[in-house]
């Protein structure tokens, strides 16, 4: 991606508002940073490029949250998990549209986007995880 946005978390969420999942790749040592950071934690380089991730991954772990903070009370119970993306990084987020009893460690999920919240710090649009579309429509 030929993008010159600063390598910050705000930029990450601005990409989310454009329905893109990105990470910062260090041009010096190749480390993929998600969250993006302005300085590479491996080699201290500040030379990065944005890479768009495929947004597919396997579920490393999950939980169903029943007692939530005030601002999430209307959604509870809801499921959150950590995805191991095919591109390498791990990403935590909500799993939507899947019954909690159907969720399994190791299952395939894809990253989707909810752009109903405008991208303005500290309010950001959210990505979330859902079932990948099956060619047979069975999922």
């Amino acid at each position: 991606m030929s993008e010159t946005r600063p390598f910050t978390m705000e930029s990450f969420y601005k990409f989310v508002s454009e329905r893109k999942l990105v990470a910062a790749k260090c041009n010096e040592c190749g480390t993929m940073l998600l969250p993006p950071r302005p300085v590479c934690t491996k080699c201290l380089s500040t030379d990065f490029k944005w890479v768009e991730l495929k947004g597919k991954g396997k579920l490393l772990s999950y939980t169903v949250i029943h007692v939530s903070p005030v601002q999430f009370q209307s959604m509870a119970p809801y499921t959150v998990g950590i995805l191991e993306l095919e591109d390498g990084p791990h990403l935590p987020g909500m799993i939507r549209g899947v019954k909690s009893e159907k969720i399994r460690v190791g299952m395939d999920l894809k990253v989707d986007f909810d752009t109903s919240i405008p991208a303005q710090w500290p309010l950001w649009p959210r990505y979330f995880f859902s079932l990948p579309r099956s060619p047979h429509g069975s999922s």
């Binding site: 969250p35 772990s61 939980t63 949250i65 007692v67 935590p92 460690v105 950001w124």
Partner: protein, 390 residues
């Protein structure tokens, strides 16, 4: 070979833990300080104590920051220098370590370390939100992940990798409630059955109400001095012989492995090496059971058993009061309670009682060496301290 002491504990104090209605945190801290001063008649607090280091997690609970001088004032220690250390639930473990630094540096001969939190006047939902501030905001809090949620993610991963069961986690709660029922200062002094723990309401699956530590008010403190000065204050000092601390990514998701806390393992290794002791040398331990799965992971990270065997360790009763290595004799965070900023030095207080033979109905016999393990957040901070009797 067991190494020489870093510092000595000459006194310790603990407030009642529980729902302390109508009291501010500083007033609760004064109760803990009073006990420590009264235990040590040879100490002239205002004259002898040269500095105060206190753990306190959140301004949000009481809308009150600048905790260091506030607590110094209420403990009668003005104008001595006082500072507050914040490392989430490891705040007073870090305050203890900072007090050790202050003495080892030669800057101070006698210091007080401690911690406080006042939480119960807030709703569960508010406390859930305030505690979540110790997790990553942009990627964890923003997506609705709570503290029970983070430990639930570890529990699911541990169950998947090792076959750990919800029953094994519940057995940690049953054990710690048994111990807490013997501790007159514990928040919830009652035994629970396995059935009760298993049938309690879900907080963050697979964690249920009885897998979670308590929202508690409380304060704790210790008086530390140079080992060569300890006998001036008491005939029964307890020596700290090892101290370890490590950090990890604030976001749980950034870690390679979800079924262990790397900071806990590294802090343990550092403390064991410094102390010259091995896990099998421990007679008693207080570990950070903010959730039952955390105690199981602590057994593994501290080398009390092999990785993946923590569930079976509690199942076979090895960590009960009369087991091979009694863990959380105080009742732990689970039953004694978890006023987050006070927890690290409250663990040290229990070890002080055990090693000086003052633990009453929960006293373990023949205790020579103890360990405390205090974790902040989902494991971004961990401190481990090792203690031995005179």
């Amino acid at each position: 070979m067991i190494r020489k002491p870093l510092v000595s504990i000459v006194s310790a104090g603990l407030s009642k833990f529980g729902r302390l209605e109508g009291m501010y945190g500083r007033e609760i801290f004064a109760e803990a300080a009073k006990e420590a001063f009264e235990r040590c008649p040879n100490l002239n607090p205002a004259k002898d104590i040269e500095a105060l280091f206190v753990g306190h997690m959140g301004e949000s609970y009481e809308h009150q920051g600048h905790t260091g001088p506030t607590l110094a004032d209420w403990a009668g220690l003005l104008p001595k220098p006082a500072m507050r250390l914040e490392s989430a639930c490891a705040s007073s473990g870090v305050a203890l370590r900072t007090g050790i630094f202050a003495i080892l540096s030669g800057m101070h001969d006698v210091v007080m370390v401690g911690g406080v939190e006042k939480m119960t006047h807030r709703t569960t939902s508010e406390v859930t939100e305030f505690l979540a501030m110790a997790s990553d905001f942009p990627f964890e809090q923003w997506h609705g992940i709570t503290f029970p949620g983070l430990y639930a993610l570890m529990a699911t991963a541990h169950m998947h990798k090792y076959g750990t069961t919800e029953e094994q986690m519940a057995l940690v709660a049953v054990k710690n409630h048994h111990n807490g029922a013997l501790n007159p200062k514990a928040h919830m002094q009652k035994e629970i059955t396995l059935e009760k723990a298993m049938s309690s309401r879900v907080i963050a699956w697979p964690l249920k109400l009885y897998d979670c530590s308590l929202i508690t008010d409380g304060a704790s403190c210790l008086i530390l001095t140079r080992p060569d000065l300890a006998k001036k204050f008491t005939d029964t000092p307890i020596h700290i012989i090892g101290s370890g601390q490590a950090s990890d990514a604030i976001g749980l998701y950034e870690r390679e492995e979800l079924s262990t806390l790397n900071a806990g393992r590294l802090a343990g290794q550092e403390a064991y090496k410094m102390a010259g002791v091995k896990p099998k040398d421990l007679d008693v331990a207080e570990v950070h059971d903010c959730f039952t799965i955390a105690e199981i992971i602590a057994y593994e990270d501290l080398g009390l058993c092999k990785p993946g065997k923590g569930g079976s360790l509690v199942e076979k009763g090895a960590t009960t009061l009369d087991g091979e290595i009694p863990v959380n004799t105080s009742g732990g965070l689970k039953s004694k309670g978890h006023p987050v900023g006070a927890t690290g030095t409250a663990q040290a207080y229990e070890l002080y009682l055990q090693l000086t033979g003052q633990a009453d109905r929960r006293q373990v016999s023949g205790v020579e060496i103890g360990l405390s393990h205090n974790v902040g957040g989902s494991g971004a901070t961990a401190t481990v301290h090792i203690y031995r009797r005179e």
